[in-house]
Structures are given as structure tokens and as C-alpha cells.
Amino acid sequence: MKNYTMFLGCNIPARVSQYADAAMAVLRKLGVEPVNIRSFYFPMIAPYYSQHVSADNLDTGDFNCCGYPMRNTDELAFLVSATKNLAVAERAGTDILVLCKCCYGSLKKAEYMLQEDNALKKDINGRLKGAGLKYEGNVQIRHLLSVLYHEIGVSALKKKVSSKFKKLNIATHYGCHALRPSNITQFDNPVAPTLFDELVTVTGASSVDWNTRLECCGAPQMGINDKLSMDLTRKKLADAAQSGADYLCTACPYCHIQFDTVQQQMAASDPDMQPVASILYPQLLGLCLGISEKALGIHLNHLDITGVKSFLS
């Protein structure tokens, strides 16, 4: 297996740090140690620039925004931002392990665009020159779920699981930007994906079938058209509840914030709402690997998910 550098993006360190903690704990338990990227601004005095913004070997110092929010207004800013990250990883000789599906989609899109268009690649590389960087295309972008599924594998995961959930119904929320556009993201079958469901089944939980599982969580419109954003969220939550799901399972900070923070806000103003809390996949898997609740940041979710333990056998 090639070395991975963790790409946290902006939301996770600021608002969903438990996702990074849980993912790190799970990966270590499975024998994957993400590499720490050092700064390359000044090779001569690199040691002076080895910032560690977040704790525990997760270095976000040299990566920057994946470009996702820039894409709406300025494609060039998006491309330069995304490619800079790819170039940083390439220079360190590692692949990128992404936790956020919007970051994943964004980086994959940039990779694809540069692959398709040599002139564009040249232009973007020209803009990275100042930072002493160049992107050739020799870096794999992988989402956490893909690494767990393809690199470690379901059967290996099954062997590592020390306790299993019983009678726990999970609604898997795939996340748009990993699934689509499928020719670019290459995550799973965009119409009938199974990767996430299989990963959930590893924990002993059943993955319920629900109609809107491949639909948008609503987060991209939060702050733009809040009503639309929450309409979409509400619809999904109702559907998940109807399908008998005890929890939603997510692997993206945007989706998670929408089903956790925003759902909590929605429930506060709507007493009839029956919340279906969101658990991040590494939290779910981590509990089965015998990792402590504290290390998985279970208490950091806004909606209470501590009840999930009662399903553990």
C-alpha cells in the first residue's frame, strides 16, 4: 500500500474534529499510518516550517482549501487551489486520503480537468511555480471509504472487528460528490452503489434500503437558500425514519453537519420532528474495533448518539 497523507479540508478541523480523530484511530488500528507532510516553502530551512496545526500527527499546514467553494464564482481559483494540494502530496511522494466528499469531488474534478487539457495543466503549473511546486499527475486521490473498502478490504475488516452491532438499522448516506459525476469520481456504481452498505454490514448493523439515499443532504444551499437546504434535509430525514433507520451514517463533514448541527437547529424549532441522528462511519466502525468512545469523539456530535452502544453485543 502506498503512503497516504490525510487531507482534512476546512470543515473538519474547525467543526467536525471528531471525524479526523475517529478516522485516525480506525486507520491506526488497521495498521495504516498516514504520513506527515512537511513544508516545502524553503527547503533550506524546512525544519523551521514544519507547522502542526492540529494535534496528533495530522498536518494540515501545507494543504489549503480544496477549491470546492470557489468553483461557484471562479473556476481558476478553484483549479489552482485544488492542484496546489495535489502538487504538495506529489512532491512528498504520497497519495491523498480525503475525508470530506466535497473535497474529494473537488480534487478529483481538478485531476480530471488537468488530465484532459494539457494547456490548462501548463497554465496552472505556471501559477504554482511561485510556491516551488509542480503537478504531474502522479498522485492518487482516495476517499476514506475507498481505502477501507479497496485497500484494506471487507474480509480483513471483518477479521479485525471485535464486537458487532445487533438489530441496529443504519441508513447509509452516500454523499453526492463522491458518487457523481461517476466518470470522474470513480467511487462506486452511481445508480446502485453498495460500497458503503457493505462497509456498514461489517459492523453487524443492517443497512436499510431507503429511497433518497443517493440524494443531496442539503448542505450546499445552506447560507444561500436556507429553506431549500432544510427542505431537502427534512425530506431525507423523514425517509430515513420511515425506513426504520436508527441512525444515519455519513462519511463527509458537510453531510454530517447538515444531519447533526442543522438537524438539531431544525428540531429546536419543530417539536414534531423525530430526529434521526448521524453517526460518522469511522465512529461506527471504531466502536466495533474496540476503540474508546472518547477517542472516537462520540460526545462531540451535537445530537446524542451514545445510544448506539446499546446495540453492541
Binding site: C65, C216, G223
Partner: protein
């Protein structure tokens, strides 16, 4: 006399300036948090808050922050060892010079009974501390002008800080060097302290000092015979040695003296020491008087900010921040920013700055303009637009807050100021992007109408130019003068209006009457593009209501890049809005 007048004048200006600055922390209104606060309310709230901490065991938090963050500057060390070294050299060198040398009457003489500036260790230490500061200034120059740390901007205030420190230290060093060589200084010391009457003996002493301690004499010239030197030595031992360490101990000044030697006699004749003394004390007094208005104010504000940070971190999650305290803290933090550029080095949006060149994307430059805005100096409309773009083009990753060596809570400041600025007017297209996500998450903290208004305003500017569609009586006039911009992907031409895209779109599916809500459905937008009507396509609400889920594109049998095209239309609209 001159000394005292200058000292008192600069002290008065300094004290008045400092009082004024502290007053502005209670008076300046930063962002919307400050809207409903009063000066008196802020003074009371802050006094209570501070007293509550000082009179409780939480004072230990302050002590700890003072020790680690202020005296040892651990937050800088975590960032960058070279910079830490630079700042420690300047900070400690300067502070110790201030206490031991500048305030010797008040501090050194009181603390150390044997204090004389001419005896060791003080004689040596004064030079040592001065060299520390100069070394620090040297590293600062190296970092700013040779190393060129990315996105580290140097403004007039940064240059001033470096220059004033350099002038004070260099003038002190030159003055001391010249004094070592100075014959008049030598004679003054002999007359005042030695009480020697014998001309021959004085000449012998003079020869000895020329030989040994770098004195430049107009009377005697080496080589000296050993008898003279012996006589000089015994005069030295009897009259000087007890109260004067060998000049070599002032190692830096002694080196300067060596350089000055060829011209030392002339310099002494034209009263060079007096001149340098004036330069030195005027620089010191100017620095003192101007301190409250310069970057050097951070000597006071940054420690306050660091201690406030330690307290607020302790508070986190237990108590909601009070608007009066938060507003005062934010006004103070504007003065605590040293423009060191750490935030901008790490800023997640850095590449947007590199592409767009708008400096206000960088946190460190935002601080500079916010300082101006807080003091009532509003930028003009064009600059304001850049400021709003800069402050909105923030991913809210909070890295700036994590790394700030001054402990400034930048993340709260951005949210607060952003809210204020977008409500003031303009139509920043970034509001219609995911940069609004965190604003949306915080919407419950704001008044509903005031929160929604900026979004509606920008939507009106970019969307809604499709009146002809709403009136079925009016046929749509085909516009053959419009050309499709090159940046628009040509795949729209493959559309044969099967409406798959509109059928799978969750936004369309959300509405009873989608056309009324979103203006044009995705397939209609493709149609518009097919007819060359880019303006109309851009005007559809759908373009901005898009959740970018790519269902449309995934399900298009014709491989039309529907979602990508919507992105491109948003890009075009943003360009138009910026141009307007």
C-alpha cells in the same frame, strides 16, 4: 535640562496616547456584535469580568499565559523557530536594556547597590543586550527582504518598527564606541573622578588608555615606552580600575571604537558624542511618545490579548460570550495584531489570493483595513468591494485563529465583521457560494430579516432577468447578437429536451410549481443556451438554487454536462456582478 524636558514631554504624549488607545477599545464598534453595546456598559462588563478573574483562582490561568505565551512566547516557537529566536532576541534584549540601562535610576540602582554603568557585569550586559536586539532586527530584515516568507507583507508601520529599533540601538552603539575613543570624555572622567593634578601622570594614564583601551588622543601617540606605560598602569590601577571595567568588555562598542579610531579625534573635536547622544535620546523619546500609535503598542496589547485568549479557552463551552466583552476584546485585538503574517502564511484561501491578487483575502491585511474602518476611516466604494470579497472569501477553517501568535480570536472577528459588511450594501456574488455555509449555520444568532436581506439583494442582481418567460403572451425574442462565451461547455448543443435532468433534480422536485420557484428548469436552461440566450439562462433562479449533486449530468443520455454548465453560468454571473 533638555533631557528632562524631552523626557517629560514624551512621557506625557505616551501616557495620553495610551489612555486614548485604551479608551478606543471601549468606544470603537467592530462588526454587528457591538451594535447594541454602550461605552459605559462595556466598561462595567469588562471591569466585572476582569475583577472576577483576578479575584478567583483563575488568576493562575493568567500567570500561566503570561509565563508561557508572553515571556517565553511559546506560540511563536510552535510556529517557527527562527522567528521565535528573532522575537526573543528583540523582546528580551529590549526589555532588559529598558530596565537596566534606560531606567537605571529607577530600577538598577535600587536593586543592585553596586550598580555603575561602567562596571561589570552591567558594562558588558548593556552591549550584550543591544547586540541581541540588533541581531533580532537583522533576522527580521532577513525574513522580510531576503527570505521572502510567502504572503508576508511589509507596510510602513513594519518598516517604522524596524527602523526605530535599529536607530536606537545603532546610535547607542556608535555613541558608546565614540565615547571609548573620546579624549574629552577621558578628560572629563579624569577631572571628575580621579582628582589627579600632575600633568605628567595624566599623560601617562592617557598613553596607557590609548595603548590598552582604544582611546584616541590628540596629545600622545604610540609607540609608548614601557616607563610611561608602567606609570600609566599604576595611575589606572589607583584611579580608574575600581570603577571602570576594561573597555573591551563593551565588546560591540569597542569594535566600533576600532573602526572610528582614524577619525576619532576630529569627531571628538566637533562634539560627535553630544550629537550621537541627542540622536540616541531623541530616537528613544520619539519611540516612546509614538509608541501608542505605532506597531510597538503590541508590547502592551499582545500580552493582554494572549491572556484574554487563555481565559476564553478556559471558558469555552461553559459560558456564552457577552456582547459587551466580546466587542471590547475585538477592538483591543485590532491593536494586538503585529502584522506578522502567520495567519496569511497558513490561510486556506491562500491560492485564491495568488489568483485574484486581492490582498484583503489575507487575514493579516484584513486586520489592517479593519483597524482603519474601526477608527472611522472608511475605504472608498471600490476598496470596500475588495474588502467585502476578501472577508467573504474565507473557508472558516479557523487556522488563522489556531496559529495567531498574538492569540487573537480571528474566527469570531470574521463572522462578526462579515455580517456587518454584507448588510451595508453591495452585491457580493460569493454570497451565492458555499462560502456562505458557516453564515447559514449561524443564522439563528441573527435577526431573520437582516440576515436574509444580503442574500436576496445579490440574487436580485444576478438572477431574475426572465420576465418574458413569466408572461406567456410574450413570445421569447431570439437574440442573434448574443454569442455564447468560450468558457461555456459546448455539450449543451446535444440536448434534445428529454427532461431527464429536470426529472431527477432534487431542487425541481422540492417544489409544487417548480417553474415559479426556480424560473427555468435545467433542461430549459440547456435549451436557452442552445438558442444562444446566455443572459436568460444566467438569470434563472435554478442556477443559484443548484445543489451541485450532479444527478442531472449523471442521468443525461446525451452526456450534456448540465451541472458543469450551471457552474459556468454562475462563474459568468459572478464576473458580471463584480464588474457592476
Amino acid at each position: 535640562m533638555v533631557f528632562n524636558v524631552l523626557l517629560n514631554a514624551s512621557l506625557i504624549i505616551f501616557a495620553a496616547g495610551l489612555t486614548y488607545k485604551v479608551a478606543t477599545w471601549f468606544y470603537y464598534r467592530v462588526g454587528i456584535t457591538a451594535e447594541d453595546t454602550s461605552i459605559v456598559g462595556r466598561i462595567i462588563a469588562v471591569s466585572r469580568h476582569v475583577l472576577g478573574i483576578v479575584l478567583s483562582e483563575r488568576i493562575l490561568i493568567l500567570f500561566k499565559a503570561f509565563l508561557l505565551d508572553v515571556l517565553l512566547q511559546v506560540r511563536i516557537l510552535k510556529q517557527d523557530k527562527l522567528r521565535w529566536l528573532m522575537h526573543m532576541l528583540i523582546f528580551w534584549g529590549f526589555m532588559l536594556l529598558l530596565l537596566m540601562h534606560a531606567l537605571d535610576d529607577i530600577v538598577s540602582r535600587k536593586l543592585f547597590s553596586g550598580y555603575y554603568s561602567t562596571v561589570n557585569p552591567y558594562f558588558f550586559l548593556r552591549d550584550f543586550f543591544g547586540v541581541m536586539v540588533l541581531a533580532g532586527v537583522g533576522i527580521a530584515l532577513y525574513r522580510r527582504f531576503i527570505l521572502k516568507v510567502p504572503r508576508l507583507k511589509t507596510n510602513a508601520m513594519d518598516k517604522y518598527a524596524i527602523i526605530i529599533l535599529a536607530v536606537i540601538m545603532l546610535s547607542g552603539l556608535l555613541l558608546e564606541g565614540l565615547r571609548i575613543t573620546s579624549h574629552s570624555e577621558f578628560m572629563y572622567m579624569v577631572n571628575d573622578y580621579a582628582g589627579m593634578g600632575d600633568e605628567q601622570e595624566i599623560l601617562a594614564l592617557e598613553s596607557y588608555w590609548v595603548e590598552k583601551y582604544g582611546l584616541a588622543s590628540p596629545n600622545v601617540r604610540p609607540p609608548f615606552d614601557s616607563a610611561t606605560l608602567d606609570a600609566g598602569r599604576s595611575a589606572h590601577e589607583m584611579n580608574c580600575m575600581d570603577c571602570h571595567a576594561p573597555a573591551q568588555w563593551a565588546f560591540a562598542s569597542f569594535a566600533v571604537a576600532g573602526f572610528l579610531k582614524p577619525v576619532a579625534v576630529i569627531l571628538d573635536k566637533i562634539k560627535g558624542t553630544d550629537f550621537l547622544w541627542y540622536v540616541h535620546i531623541i530616537a528613544c523619546f520619539f519611540g516612546l511618545a509614538y509608541l501608542p500609535f505605532s506597531k510597538m503598542l503590541h508590547i502592551f496589547t499582545t500580552p493582554i490579548s494572549l491572556m484574554a485568549r487563555a481565559i476564553s479557552e478556559d471558558d469555552e463551552g461553559t459560558s456564552a460570550p457577552d456582547a459587551a466583552i466580546a466587542s471590547t476584546r475585538q477592538a483591543m485585538e485590532l491593536d494586538a495584531c503585529t502584522h506578522c503574517g502567520t495567519c496569511s502564511l497558513h490561510c486556506s484561501a491562500m491560492m485564491a489570493y495568488e489568483v485574484k491578487g486581492n490582498e484583503y483575502i489575507l487575514p493579516s491585511e484584513k486586520m489592517m483595513v479593519l483597524k482603519r474602518v474601526a477608527s472611522g476611516k472608511e475605504p472608498d466604494a471600490a476598496e470596500m468591494q475588495a474588502v467585502i470579497e476578501g472577508i467573504y472569501l474565507c473557508t472558516n477553517c479557523d487556522r488563522c485563529t489556531v496559529v495567531c501568535p498574538s492569540g487573537i480570536n480571528l474566527k469570531d472577528l470574521w463572522i462578526n465583521v462579515r455580517e456587518d459588511l454584507v448588510r451595508r450594501g453591495g452585491a457580493e456574488p460569493l454570497i451565492l457560494s458555499q462560502f456562505s455555509f458557516v453564515r447559514g449555520l449561524n443564522r439563528h444568532k441573527f435577526d431573520g430579516q437582516a440576515y436574509a436581506e444580503p442574500v436576496e439583494r445579490v440574487r436580485k442582481v444576478v438572477a431574475g432577468h426572465f420576465e418574458s418567460l413569466n408572461n406567456p403572451e410574450n413570445p421569447i425574442a431570439l437574440n442573434d447578437t448574443e454569442t455564447t462565451p468560450e468558457s461555456v461547455d459546448p455539450t449543451f448543443a446535444y440536448c434534445f429536451s428529454c427532461q431527464n435532468c429536470s426529472t431527477v433534480c432534487p431542487v425541481v422536485g422540492n417544489y409544487e410549481d417548480p417553474q415559479e420557484s426556480v424560473g427555468l428548469l435545467p433542461h430549459q436552461i440547456m435549451c436557452c443556451l442552445g438558442l444562444g440566450m446566455v443572459e436568460m439562462a444566467k438569470g434563472a433562479s435554478m442556477v443559484y438554487d443548484c445543489v451541485t449533486c450532479y444527478q442531472c449530468q449523471e442521468h443525461c443520455p446525451q452526456k450534456v454536462k448540465v451541472a458543469d454548465l450551471l457552474y459556468q453560468l454562475r462563474n459568468l454571473a459572478a464576473k458580471d456582478a463584480n464588474a457592476a
